[in-house]
């Protein structure tokens, strides 16, 4: 029913899609899997008309097309739900759904008519969304269903969903799969782009695997397994077990007591969180994104205004609750932020300047006794040490940070923080957007840091990563610590249950 035939697409000097051919049978749920950057989203955006292919055709019901706008694809019954929701927050559900295909005339918008149809669709597919609700007031799961309604409203027969479960709790994923099955019953065709292999096995009928812009395999889902899919995705056996010796934790370095945080919109993001991290151990924090992990790390790093916080944070016995970010760096708390572009790097500055961010107020960045004038030779030496010890490529301190790949940027940030040297490392999403080789390097460095006596608090959305690295695992749900486990002793299912508020 839907086919991509020899699709190629280039962005600048990156070949995102290289003669990609995918066949989706009508009335099935088809999964497209691959790592970050494999080209899955690009291929599907071409199918939707958001991008135009350089070469190749999108074949719908046997007829080839080369879409230049989403309008053409929508007219043929193709709908797409993007990974990041395309919703206008202050407007209502109905207004968002009709945007671009407004009923009524040039002079008068007929929202009431649209609302009727939206209600009907909502009932038919068990979506439970009211047309006059305002988007800002809806939960993430509900907003996703608004996106589904948008596609259905435009009579989509083929629905393309990009990483639909990335922001859902396991409970919500179950509901979501029920909706997908209902759509299949009603004769719709569903294409899911995902990198979550267990979900692929749970819901899809067929799966296509992409790697580095090419299609590398096609399977009937019931005839394959996660190991085979993973191997196709990365091209070799994936090592899910890390070489890790036992930890020998020492005295507590970080003690958090009843830490609560209220956001600017009044919601409580952290609710009486208490835990400790000892020297020489890695404490992991597992949870679905958006449950308070970001706020926890930022609060501990000193990046949240103290008026929003209550409770105590103690470092080596000292109460540091009111310490600024700079003071925390000075006493040995390092921080690798979850978004290195937003928080961790000055992209247009060179590596030397980036290597002193956060330590620019003391040696070797500035010269004593005034600590005002920059010591350029000292800065350069430090940058080169980091580049050497953390295998940052290309090894040129005069390059702008922007010129480095994601993995090398991350190594630079991690190197900078490791050079503090830290007594406590706060690290969040350490391998997001990082290639396999760098991932292994970073994991080894983290273990080595732990073994040298540093305390590490690790937040990661990749359950495999955090269970492999952590000596103790905290599970966070809606701003509360709902469980503390030792990874070898629990199953992923049990952790998943805790992540959604259930009891282990």
């Amino acid at each position: 029913m839907l086919e991509l035939r020899n699709i190629s697409k280039r962005f600048g000097n990156i070949l995102a899609n290289d003669r990609v051919s995918i066949t989706v049978r009508g009335g099935t749920i088809h999964a497209i899997v691959g790592e970050n950057g494999a080209g899955k989203s690009t291929a599907m955006r071409i199918a939707y008309g958001f991008y135009t292919a350089d070469d190749g055709d999108v074949v719908v019901d046997g007829k080839p097309h080369r879409f230049t706008t989403p309008h053409e694809a929508i007219a043929l019954g193709i709908g797409m739900v993007h990974q990041h929701f395309m919703l206008v927050e202050p407007m209502t559900v109905a207004e968002n759904i009709v945007l671009g295909a407004e009923p009524g005339s040039f002079a008068a918008l007929d929202i009431a008519g649209a609302a009727g149809r939206i209600r009907a669709l909502s009932q038919e597919f068990h979506l439970e969304i009211a047309p006059d609700a305002v988007i800002e007031d809806l939960s993430v799961g509900q907003q996703q269903r608004v996106e589904l309604l948008k596609a259905l409203y435009r009579n989509a027969r083929i629905l393309i969903l990009d990483e639909p479960t990335a922001v859902l709790t396991p409970q919500e994923v179950g509901d979501f799969f029920r909706i997908l099955r209902r759509m299949r019953e009603q004769g719709k065709t569903v294409v899911i782009i995902t990198h979550k292999l267990d979900e692929v096995l749970a819901i899809s009928d067929e799966v296509t695997v992409m790697r580095d812009g090419r299609v590398v395999g096609r399977r009937e889902t019931k005839e394959t397994n996660t190991a085979e899919l993973a191997r196709l995705m990365v091209g070799r056996e994936v090592l899910l077990r890390l070489e890790k010796s036992n930890a020998h934790p020492g005295a507590p370095v970080l003690q958090v007591e009843n830490l609560s945080m209220t956001a600017s919109d009044g919601t409580e993001r952290l609710a009486s969180v208490s835990f400790e991290v000892r020297a020489g151990e890695i404490v992991g924090v597992a949870g679905v994104e958006g449950n308070g992990q970001t706020e926890l790390i930022e609060a501990l790093a000193g990046l949240i205004e103290s008026e929003r916080l209550s409770g105590d944070v103690r470092f080596e016995g000292r109460n540091i609750t009111k310490f600024t970010a700079r003071q925390r760096k000075q006493i040995g708390i390092a921080h690798v932020p979850e978004d290195r572009h937003r928080r961790g790097l000055l992209l247009d500055s060179d590596l030397s300047e980036n290597s002193i961010l956060g330590v620019h107020f003391r040696e070797p960045a500035v010269r004593p006794p005034a600590y005002v004038m920059l010591d350029e030779a000292g800065i350069r030496r430090r940058a080169q040490a980091i580049i050497r010890d953390f295998d940052v490529r290309p090894p040129n301190p005069d390059l702008a940070a922007r010129a480095l790949s994601g993995g090398n940027q991350q190594k630079l940030v991690i190197g900078r923080e490791f050079e503090l040297p830290p007594k406590l490392l706060l690290i969040s999403q350490p391998t997001r957007g990082v290639d396999i080789g760098a991932i292994e390097f970073i994991h080894r460095k983290l273990i080595a840091l732990r073994d040298s006596g540093c305390a590490v608090l690790l937040v990661s959305a990749e359950l495999e990563e955090v269970t492999a690295l952590a000596d103790r695992l905290l599970v966070i749900y809606q701003g509360k610590i709902v469980g503390e486990v030792e990874p070898p002793r629990v199953t992923t299912d049990q952790i998943g249950l805790m992540m959604t508020g259930g009891r282990a």
Binding site: H82, M91, G100
Partner: protein
């Protein structure tokens, strides 16, 4: 005090608020679509100069007004191309247009009328002192209706809040923004035209004297909403009218101190002392397709 609160001050307030309101409504279109429009000042000047010149030559203020609108649209087009197509910094481009409009009318007046910035005086019979005021105040409900009850208004608001969402829904972000900026040029130009062929009878160099900036301030004061912006314009108009009235009455307060009241008020409001201000989320950011 009773000297001040009388019918004549109400009339003055309306007259003085009208050009602000026209420019502010224009600014509303542009800013709600996500394009900052600092250039309201220059657009008003373009309208003022062109309409005065054309009225002089053609003998008809209506032709002059039309020509003024055309000039406003043309200058706004330059702003639009720079901001939307070239993704230039919108404040910088707007400032450039304002500087341009300080200089261009003088050059043209030198060539056309051999003057240093002014156009020739236009006889009383050829002025339109009332029509622009009517247009200005009729605009308010029209803009409200357009914004909240028509498809174009829906798209405009969407583009200003989340251009990517609009783009994926098939709305052309650039087309909406171009239309919005050109409209702002047209409306601001009418405001300027009112100054030269409505309120007075000629154009003088820099005759807007900052009204474009005040209109922008009123728009922000009014939280980018039509009715509130109108109220803000009336407030600023009132301040100006009061300062003129008080000039003779109270010699102890220098007139300049009264004249700066609207400016101080604007800063106070901007600081959020009078309610939080929520700008269109995408305001000031050029849209790049990901």
């Amino acid at each position: 005090m009773s000297d001040i609160l009388n019918l004549s001050i109400i009339y003055s307030t309306i007259r003085l608020a009208a050009p602000l309101l026209l420019a502010a409504m224009g600014g509303l279109f542009s800013e709600r679509s996500g394009v900052v429009n600092i250039a309201l000042e220059g657009l008003m000047l373009a309208g003022a100069f062109t309409s005065a010149s054309v009225t002089h030559y053609a003998g008809s203020p209506w032709l002059g007004l039309l020509a003024g609108v055309a000039a406003g649209v043309f200058i706004a087009f330059i702003h639009a191309v720079a901001c939307i197509h070239f993704e230039a910094d919108q404040v910088v481009t707007g400032t450039a247009i304002n500087i341009l409009m300080l200089g261009v009318p003088t050059l043209l007046s030198g060539a056309l009328f051999q003057t240093t910035g002014s156009t020739p005086q236009i006889p009383q019979s050829n002025l339109i002192p009332n029509a622009p005021i009517v247009i200005a105040f009729l605009l308010v409900p029209s803009v409200w209706y357009m914004l909240y009850r028509t498809p174009f208004g829906l798209r405009l608001r969407a583009v200003g809040e989340n251009p990517e969402a609009a783009d994926t829904a098939g709305v052309s972000v650039s087309r909406v923004r171009y239309l919005a900026v050109l409209t702002s040029g047209a409306l601001a130009a009418i405001g300027g035209a009112y100054l030269s062929i409505g309120q007075s009878s000629l154009f003088t160099r820099n005759m807007t004297a900052g009204r474009g900036y005040i209109a922008l301030a009123a728009l922000i004061f009014g939280k980018w909403r039509p009715v509130q912006t109108m109220l803000a314009c009336l407030l600023f108009g009132f301040a100006e009218a009061a300062s003129i009235q008080m000039q003779g009455v109270t010699p102890y307060i220098r007139v300049e101190y009264i004249q700066i009241i609207p400016y101080v008020l604007t800063m106070v409001v901007l600081a959020g002392f009078i309610g939080a201000s929520r700008a269109p989320k995408a305001l000031g950011q050029p849209y790049k397709k990901r």
